[in-house]
Amino acid sequence: MAVRVQVADFEVAELQRELLAGAQDEGAIATFTGYVRGINSGQQVQSMELEHYPGMTERSIEGIVRQACTRWPLLAASVVHRVGLLQAGDQIVWVGTASAHREAAFSACEFIMDYLKNEAPFWKKEQGPQGAHWVDARSQDRDRAARWDNGTPKGRTTK
């Protein structure tokens, strides 16, 4: 289990290699990579300043990953989240989960992402042609995270 909050960019291949670190014959890997949007809520985004709460961010993500490990039979799980100044199209977050059961890998990866969006103390300030503004929290993300509260999500929409 590795949780990193860093300014530097990351290499998905390297992260994926580290995740199973030679134990590839034991499981499969699900990953998610997020990028900085070029357009958000209809507004053009050129760059973004991502602020976080040093200490609490790492702790809160570690807590999420530990929860996922309790909930699903995972072999490994890693999270890398960038902070600082990012440009549109830059990688911002990577979550990788490994399990002998592909459903567990998928569910845990999506679970961690939902909580990252909703619970981890990060704040985006977008910079576009109209100037800079803080991104508002979307209630949609809260709703998605709440799906997991009763043990299993209720099912997925197809849209």
Binding site: L50, E51, G55, I92, V93, E119, W123, D136, A137
Partner: protein
């Protein structure tokens, strides 16, 4: 001593990333500390810290409602998070 931190929009609107407050019985819980900050900071601080969607954390864990504070605690005020 209580370590008080502000993040994101709250930090910007207060023009302050954090400050220390001497712990004493009059700031022995979160609501009292917040009242003290508002009183000392004036109208601007009162307005910003009273925003309805303000999130409060004690020792790096989000708390709902009032909670006791002890000497050495770290307290943070911030808006809803927007990570990932």
């Amino acid at each position: 001593m209580l370590k008080v931190l502000f993040f994101a929009r709250v930090r910007e609107e207060l023009g302050c990333a954090g400050r220390d407050v001497v712990w004493e019985s009059t700031v022995a819980d979160l609501d009292s500390l917040q009242a003290r900050l508002c009183r000392e900071g004036g109208p601007r601080w009162s307005q910003v810290l009273s925003e309805t969607n303000m999130i409060r954390a004690v020792n790096q864990a989000v708390v709902n409602g009032n909670t006791p504070l002890h000497d050495g605690d770290e307290v943070a005020f911030f808006p809803p998070v927007t990570g990932g």
